[in-house]
């Protein structure tokens, strides 16, 4: 099986991976009461996290782009929320990163900062121009703020990185499913594309 190669865009950060892994492990144990599910926010389906310190909206699913193929916002919300929950339960929801699977950009879970993808959360539409920005926004959601790549921003506004540049920067193109992870059914289908979803 080919090893799926994924790129952590957090490599920019100078932080010590070893130290942060330790902290991450503590976190997973501390948040046993946290639960991810598909709820609603401002009237649309939303992946939300119920935590001991409050309910956190994570992704609002507003795009009807894939509704024609059965992936309505409701369906996408349920699939992705379940994946968040599964990864949280198994202690793998430590970091998010971007990778490429079957030549398509994916948002996935990584157990270490800069580490390989351990599970795909969702595939982004091919050609999506703001995968990088989406990833940064999701990182901000997880941390409650934006993280290290702040200096990627030139004007203080949204971060724009061409997907072509991003893909070209990959050392090896990946085409297999992640190691030790069965081919996830949802990824075999045209996947929900989240570039137009609302994140906090």
């Amino acid at each position: 099986m080919k090893r799926t190669t994924l790129v952590s865009l957090l490599a920019i950060s100078a932080l010590s991976a070893a130290a942060s892994v330790t902290v991450g492990a503590d976190k997973a144990q501390a948040q046993v009461a946290t639960r991810f599910y598909c709820g609603q926010s401002r009237g649309v389906p939303a992946t939300v996290a119920e935590t001991p310190s409050g309910i956190r909206p994570v992704i609002r699913w507003t795009s009807d782009y894939f509704s024609g193929s059965g992936y309505t916002p409701e369906v996408r919300c349920k699939i992705v929320s379940q994946k968040f929950q599964q990864n949280f339960e198994s202690g793998r929801l430590r970091y998010l990163t971007i990778g490429v699977v079957n030549q398509e950009p994916v948002i996935c879970v990584a157990e270490t900062e800069g580490g390989p993808c351990s599970d795909v959360l969702y595939t982004m539409k091919r050609g999506q121009q703001d995968a990088f920005a989406t990833k940064l926004r999701l990182q901000a959601v997880g941390q409650g703020r934006a993280s290290g790549p702040l200096n990627e921003s030139t004007g203080g506004g949204p971060v724009y990185v061409s997907l072509a540049d991003f893909v070209n920067s990959l050392p090896v193109e990946a085409s297999a499913t992640p190691p030790s992870t069965p081919a996830p059914t949802p990824e075999a289908q045209p996947q929900p594309e989240a570039s137009t979803e609302s994140l906090w």
Binding site: S13, L15, S41, R94, Q143, G144, R145, S147
Partner: protein
């Protein structure tokens, strides 16, 4: 243990602290106008409150200086930080601005103003951003204090506009709490001041206030982050505290950091 210590220090502070501290209200010229509360009723969460604090005035002041910052169709919070001849400057978090491409500021009177980034202002690696808008209306702007030398347990007040769950829009959330941790150096993004107040998604960019109503920090990280690690210092090192000690606090960027860049 940490919390107990903070509470103890806090109680000590309340007993010995001044009760007649000169504030920016009332009668100082900066008292908040009695504006119609068109956004929503102020919701107060007040588990413990030391004596000598004029909570209603604090709430009114928080409501007067805190704005909703819209990035496309989502929002965070912001602070009316300066005004000059009908032009207003709004301080918020960079990660609020990341959420969209076009910006609007909703002022306490409910009006929506088209806003734009202030050119030439850079906050370095700090999670801050500055917007400007113009309006003939008069709005109260914030008075700045300081936070880095506050003792643990000092009462502080946080405000902002939580993103609703389901359909419920809570309007301005105003929470009370205490300083819980102040780090010797800033975490990535400039976060350095820990406090016990609850912060919800959407309150990022809103003010952290002292008992005089001065802005001492900018809200940005809520308790118990879901993934990733926000507790890494800007030099890449990590604090000698376990995750729970850090995750029990919300975190703000001290206003001193804002001052350095403006």
């Amino acid at each position: 243990m940490l919390k107990a210590k903070a509470v103890l220090i806090g109680l000590t502070y309340w007993v010995t602290g001044q009760t007649n501290v000169p504030g920016i209200f009332p009668g100082s010229g900066a008292s908040p106008p009695s504006q119609p509360n068109v956004l929503a009723p102020v919701k107060q969460v007040s588990p413990l409150l030391p004596p000598g604090i004029d909570l209603p005035s604090l709430q009114r002041h928080a409501q007067a200086i805190t704005v909703k910052v819209w990035a496309d169709d989502v929002w965070g919070s912001g602070i009316l930080i300066q005004q000059q001849g009908g032009r207003y400057w709004v301080l918020t978090n960079q990660h609020v601005l990341w959420m969209g491409k076009t910006y609007r500021v909703q002022t306490p009177d409910g009006r929506m103003h088209i806003a734009s980034l202030v050119p030439g202002v850079r906050f370095g690696n700090n999670d801050l951003g500055l917007l400007k808008f113009s309006s003939p209306a008069r709005y109260t702007v914030a008075t700045l204090g300081s936070s880095l030398r506050l003792p643990m347990g000092t009462p502080v007040f946080a405000a902002g506009f939580p993103v609703p769950i389901e359909f419920e829009d809570k309007g301005l959330q105003f929470t009370t709490g205490q300083i819980s941790l102040i780090m010797p150096k800033a975490f990535d993004g400039g976060y350095q001041v820990g406090y016990s107040n609850t912060i919800e998604k959407g309150m990022s960019g809103g003010p952290l206030l002292n008992r005089q109503g001065e802005v001492i920090g900018v809200n940005g990280i809520h308790q118990a982050p879901l993934w990733g690690n926000p507790y890494v210092f800007q030099d890449g090192s990590t604090p000698d505290l376990d995750w729970d000690s850090l995750a029990r606090s919300s975190w703000a960027i001290p206003i001193e950091t804002v001052r350095r860049h403006l």
